[in-house]
Each structure stands twice: as structure tokens, then as C-alpha cells.
């Protein structure tokens, strides 16, 4: 890549543009490859953000400052945040298993990719892609104005149809994301009755209370020094990566004390069945 960059820089083009292009080309291709290779969806989203930001800078070097701004605002700002929202709802732990479920899928996908690459390369290789047009005001200060002129004259009808598309998309998203309530909403009275009837009338202890540090995955300490497993959210203690950390923290918190109750983490909530009968609400009654 450095040889190519040097070669490109020696041409009549400006050196800065060439360097920026080659650096961003390497960065974006690497991020895209990492995106299709990393098993965690969150990593994919972050790598996609890298690709999109480098594309925005590439638009700037190609003389499209308006598109660069739109790329950052719409893609990196809106679309990727939407992706991350849905990712957090669907569950970060929904890890993609990289095991093949269809036999020979990778092989055929690779062959199809090579075929597509060859096809596109041949097509574009046969086309004559000329040099860049001489720099004009269209690619600099007058970019927004010339795009606006085109949108509101030649592309006026597609632009208006776009508004219909956006409204339809918003309505469709609202219809699809809406969930009918099948049961009546519990009133405050019913909620409080449930809470009193359950095993935990009090709020659950917060993580890290009286412990060495107050990270969310660090259990609180009971008055007798034993760790309260109820204080760690089961979402955190149930995650595959955090399980060791939580148990290690439990052991660390237990210290020289005898092994604490080996009960699994209970789901928090007023109706949580508390089989152990240990009241681990911090300052209250010590467990038997």
C-alpha cells in the first residue's frame, strides 16, 4: 500500500488527498473485514461506524461536503444509533454462533464472492473511467447550492415521493413495533399487594454496598460479611463472560469466611420465589 501511495502521490493529484484516500481505504476495508468476521454484534456496529466515518471523509476528498455531513448525521448519528438501540433490546448476549449450519455455506459464499468480484472488476475494467473533472465551485463552496438546485428542479418529483416514503416508513415502524396489551395494566394497589405477598417486600440490595468496590457486578456484603448474591442483577451474573467475574468477586468478598450459600442468582422482583429464605437486604436481619 505504501508503494501505491507513493505512486499516487507522485501524480499530478495533491499529495494530501492521496494519502488520506489510501489510509482511509485501508482502514475502511479492514473495518469491513472485521465486521463480517467478529462474532459479537456490538463489535460489528462499532466497526460499521468506523467504515461510515471514513466514508464521510472520503466524500470530502471527492468534493461532496454536503454528502459528508449527511453521512455523519444520518448514518453515523441516526442509523447506527438505531442499530445500537435494537441491539441492546434484542440482547447483547445474542452472540452469533460462527458454526456453519448449512453444509458448505462458507465455501459457496466465498466462491460467489469471488465470482462477484471478478464480474465487477471485469465490468469496471472494461468501462472507461476518465480522470476527475477540473475542480469547480460545484465541489467546494457551491456544493450545497448546486445540489439544492438539482433537487428542486430536475429531481423535484422523486424528492416529493421521498416524503411519502418516509411517512410510510414511520407508520410501518409504529405499526410493527406496537404491541397490543393482552392483560389489563396492574394498578398501584395490585402491585403493592404483590410486593407484600412476595418474598421481598423491601427493595433488593444494591450491588457493592459495604463491599470493597461498588461495581455493578460486585455483590453487596451482608452484616456478617457474607456476600449477597441477590444484589447482583441476574442479567449481569447470567452473562457468559461475567459469570466467572461474579463468582470470583463472590469468593473475594467472602474472603476467609466459609463458603457462602451457593444458591443461584434469583430474578429480582416482588414475586421472586426465595427458596433459601435468606434475607439479604443489606442492613436488615442477618441470614441464619
Amino acid at each position: 500500500m505504501t508503494a501505491a501511495a507513493v505512486l499516487a502521490a507522485s501524480s499530478a493529484e495533491s499529495t494530501t488527498t492521496s494519502v488520506v484516500f489510501w489510509v482511509l481505504a485501508v482502514v475502511s476495508v479492514g473495518a469491513a473485514l472485521g465486521m463480517i468476521l467478529s462474532p459479537r454484534a456490538v463489535h460489528c456496529a462499532v466497526l460499521l461506524a468506523v467504515v461510515m466515518l471514513s466514508f464521510a471523509v472520503l466524500y470530502l476528498t471527492a468534493g461532496a461536503p454536503f454528502l459528508a455531513a449527511v453521512q455523519i448525521i444520518v448514518y453515523t448519528g441516526a442509523v447506527l444509533m438505531l442499530f445500537l438501540f435494537v441491539l441492546m433490546i434484542v440482547g447483547v448476549s445474542a452472540a452469533d454462533s460462527l458454526r456453519e449450519t448449512i453444509r458448505g455455506q462458507r465455501l459457496w459464499a466465498g466462491l460467489a464472492a469471488i465470482a462477484l468480484l471478478v464480474l465487477l472488476a471485469l465490468t469496471i475494467g472494461h468501462a472507461t473511467i476518465g480522470p476527475a473533472a477540473p475542480a469547480s465551485l460545484r465541489y467546494g463552496a457551491g456544493n450545497v447550492k448546486s445540489i439544492a438546485v438539482l433537487i428542486f428542479t430536475r429531481y423535484f418529483f422523486p424528492f416529493e415521493v421521498t416524503s411519502a416514503l418516509l411517512i410510510t416508513a414511520a407508520l410501518g415502524a409504529m405499526v410493527l413495533a406496537h404491541r397490543e396489551r393482552l392483560t389489563p395494566k396492574p394498578t398501584q394497589r395490585e402491585l403493592s399487594r404483590l410486593r407484600i405477598a412476595g418474598a421481598h417486600p423491601t427493595p433488593l440490595p444494591g450491588p457493592g454496598t459495604y463491599a470493597r468496590h461498588n461495581a455493578v457486578d460486585f455483590p453487596a456484603l451482608l452484616p456478617d460479611g457474607s456476600p449477597a448474591e441477590l444484589s447482583v442483577s441476574p442479567i449481569i451474573s447470567g452473562r457468559p463472560g461475567a459469570r466467572e467475574a461474579v463468582s470470583e468477586a463472590l469468593r473475594e468478598a467472602a474472603g476467609a469466611l466459609p463458603a457462602g450459600p451457593g444458591s443461584p442468582a434469583h430474578p429480582p422482583g416482588p414475586v421472586a420465589p426465595d427458596g433459601e429464605g435468606t434475607d439479604s437486604s443489606g442492613q436488615e436481619a442477618p441470614p441464619s
Binding site: 476495508v29 463480517i36 462458507r106 469547480s136 418516509l166 413495533a177
Partner: protein
């Protein structure tokens, strides 16, 4: 940089996105790969616009961005609906019409 460079980069990224769509199983990641392909096409549009000295290609890329935003909104809503029904974001689990 000549527009050919931009088009070549767009081709490479488009193929990477296509591979991702073919290989990955998580519906969200498949969506991201589709976004990558759309972005690659946008880059080609911008490169060609630079070649012709006109901004028509940039307007086309702008429209692609609008359509992509609408597509993501509806697609993610469908994904949420599927996840609510099946508790899974894997495309392998949505096979009710298969048999």
C-alpha cells in the same frame, strides 16, 4: 485521486458486504452488511459524479441515503417483532414458512 480509485474501493466494500450477508446468521449483522453495500454504492456514485463534473451522482447518493434510512427503520421494526415472537435474532430460527 482519480474516480477509478473510488470505484475500486466501492467494489471491494460491496463484495465484503455481500459476503457478510451470505455468511452471517444474526439478522442485525445482516442488516449492517446491507448498509455497508449501500454505502459502497454511494461511494461509487460520488466517484462517478466527480468524473463527470456534475452533482447528479451526489443527488442520487442522497436519495439512496434516504431510502436506506427508511429501510433500516422498517427492517429493525420487523426484527423487533420477530424477536418478540421467537426470542431470537438468528435468521435460522425464522423458518416457519420453510416446511
Amino acid at each position: 485521486m482519480s474516480p477509478g480509485h473510488y470505484v475500486a474501493l466501492a467494489v471491494i466494500l460491496f463484495v465484503i458486504g455481500a459476503v457478510g450477508v451470505l455468511v452471517r446468521r444474526n439478522a442485525l449483522v445482516i442488516f449492517m452488511c446491507i448498509e455497508l453495500m449501500l454505502n459502497a454504492v454511494n461511494l461509487a456514485f460520488v466517484g462517478f459524479a466527480r468524473m463527470h463534473g456534475q452533482v447528479d451522482g451526489q443527488v442520487a447518493a442522497f436519495f439512496v441515503m434516504v431510502v436506506a434510512a427508511a429501510e433500516v427503520v422498517v427492517g429493525l421494526a420487523i426484527l423487533m417483532a420477530i424477536f418478540r415472537a421467537r426470542r431470537s435474532a438468528s435468521v435460522d430460527d425464522a423458518n416457519l414458512l420453510k416446511y
